[in-house]
Amino acid sequence: MTSDQGGNVDSPTSGADTRSEPNPVLPHGDNQDEATPSLADIAAAPDVLADSLGEYVSAWVKRIRSGESGALPILLGLVLIIIIFQVQQSRFLSAGNIVNLLVQAAFFVLLGLGETFALILSEIDLSVGFVAGIGATITLALLSPSYGWPWWAAVIVGLLACAALGALQGLLITRLHLPSFVVTLASLLGLGGVLIFLFDSFHGTVGGVISLPTTGPLYNLVNGNMSTAASWIALVVAVGLYALVTITRNTRRRARNLSAPPLSITLLTIVVAGVAGALLVIVCNINRGILVPLSGVPWVLPIVVLIVVGWTLLLSKTRTGRYMYAIGASPEAARRAGIRVQWIRTVAFTLSAFTAGLGGLMYASRLGSISVGYDGSTYVLYAVAAAVIGGASLFGGYGKAVHALLGGVLIAAVVNGLALIGVSTAGEEIATALVLLAAVTVDSLVRRRGSKA
């Protein structure tokens, strides 16, 4: 040790040498620092305090160019897919099919939403497909005449079973320090077996199928519709609430001298949300019945929106949500900040499974039954696809509930469209794979450009 000390020590001169060494990376940062802006400049940064619509738009364009594309690629992708299918099959954009597509999407949205929790934490949950199936099977079995439970009790037990499966996986991952990929892969394989076992053990299974009684709230979740008037009232209330919350918050922020988007932007957002909602209600209220008149917004749609809003609030407004993002980016930083990392991880896997369970109920409600042939291993891949297409990162730390919503709708559009133009199963799977690849490629290209700029 003594012998090489002379070489190791940083004498003042060698220190100076190291310092003045040309560094290819630093000059940029240095220039930034040297242009030390005053406090006024900080306040005037475009994306922080854009006073006018124009400024805001230019800041937004800048953000997209720098790689923060947000939901833009997926919206463009959705438009592209819609155009392709509409050209192939004019029935694609009929009121009946749009409603059908959205109802189909509910399942993918909720599975993707569950997956988003895992992805934010930089983990993966491969079990959501079968967890959803098991929850639905338990609920439907309890609802069948053999057991005859009230609907709410059956739903609660089914969802609790899902949450328990998630918590169990979370505990295995956190307490035994096992990789989530392996634990949830084991669940994917094992729960497929458990599902078959459940079908064998429950009474009320007919030919490997448990049917959902055609009366009752669970069946009506998808098959029941809000009345035309109720749809409009719900929309007005929702948009009004959104407007109230946004405007109050921004006014409050401005009063405290904090940056807030200009009023024109807020109003524009509210108008866009209102118009989109109104279009949806109008489409749903068109008579889509073939033999008997059928119209109205299926109950499942506002319920999915409520779940997405709830999880958005959880992720963005609570400590639990904040800690999920922190752990996803740097578990070490989170640990040093005193966050109970293992607890939050377990919560995330529990929420993931619970949300998947909600998805399973939508699935069973739409089909009116669940069968032993339920293909949980394919659905989990749709879930990952929905979350990733929507914008969650496989590397952790990013992802929003609304992304799963968009991703789920896009997946449903592909699945629905391909079935409509009569593509074979082989073609359907290949096409879905291509959409996933395209979405991830676009995302990765945009991000790479962002990091270069």
């Binding site: 004498s11 220190g15 620092d33 406090l39 900080i42 904040r322 989170a334 900040a337 966050i339």
Partner: protein, 267 residues
């Protein structure tokens, strides 16, 4: 400034007495006696393997010493976990800074200590506090406190880490090589930040083997060699060549008049 040798020039915030820590056969800290004076910037210098990191990890509570005691404001304390150290007001900023790239400056500063209002995060209050602290530290180069930390330069990231420490009302901030990865102007920025931190009454223990930085910012210096403090005193009783002597050989024949206080235990 009196340089009595035995009597330090201020009240010690934390005092280490005969601190020892071994890892198997390796004695990383071999009996350290050190007083860190309140409100001053103390530089802990030493060559690679001198035991600097082992020493600060003991103070940060990552592990407990094998022998010796730690006195905080004159009272013996046991630091068995980082929580114990934090509770006293000791914050350590490691080289990796422990920031979350995906979160913005405010979110990083408040991580683990979020302010709630009606059971939800009170972003407004947190933003106001964060702005105030950054203004006090004269961190003016960030465009917005809502910028994700990933978009910041090395010096700015260091500033956020320091602001985070200030926010936790730290009394002692330990910084591990704060300028190691920085360019010239960013180093100046961080050193200025350390000075302001001390002006604000915070005691700073800065690990560094960059003598230029040490002489720029430190009030006192302690030189660690082979797990022992070989020299310790006000910075103006040292010059670079003396410090280098201590770092490499554990003694110096060129000690300035008035005397750097060579520590007998080092020889």
């Amino acid at each position: 400034m009196s340089t009595d040798g035995s009597d330090p020039d201020g009240t010690p915030l934390i005092e280490l007495r005969g601190l020892k820590k071994s890892f198997g056969a390796v004695q990383a800290v071999a009996g350290v006696d050190l007083k860190i004076i309140k409100g001053m910037v103390t530089a802990l210098a030493g060559d690679n393997g001198a035991g600097k990191s082992s020493l600060i990890k003991t103070i940060s509570g990552l592990w407990e010493q094998d022998e010796g005691e730690i006195l905080w404001e004159g009272k013996p304390v046991r630091l068995r976990s980082p929580k114990d150290s934090e509770a006293l007001g000791i914050t350590t900023i490691y080289q990796d800074l422990a920031l979350c790239d995906n979160l913005d400056i405010v979110q990083n500063m408040f991580l683990g200590h979020e302010v709630l209002r009606h059971f939800t995060l009170d972003e407004g209050s947190m933003e106001i506090t964060a702005k105030k602290i950054l203004a006090e530290l004269e961190v003016t180069t960030v465009r917005s406190v809502r910028q994700p930390v990933a978009s910041l330069s090395g010096g700015q990231r260091q500033s956020v880490a320091v602001a985070k420490a200030v926010m936790s009302n730290a009394k002692l901030v330990i910084m591990d090589e704060p300028t190691a990865a920085l360019g010239v102007s960013q180093t100046a920025q961080v050193l200025a930040l350390i000075k302001r931190l001390a002006e604000g009454g915070v005691t700073v223990l800065m690990i560094s083997h960059n003598l230029i930085d040490i002489f720029e910012v430190a009030d006192r210096i302690a030189v660690l060699r082979l797990g022992r403090i070989v020299a310790d005193g006000p910075i103006d009783t040292f010059d670079s060549s003396v410090v280098v002597d201590y770092m490499t050989t554990g003694r110096s024949d060129r000690a300035l008049t008035g005397g750097a206080t060579g520590n007998a235990s080092g020889q």
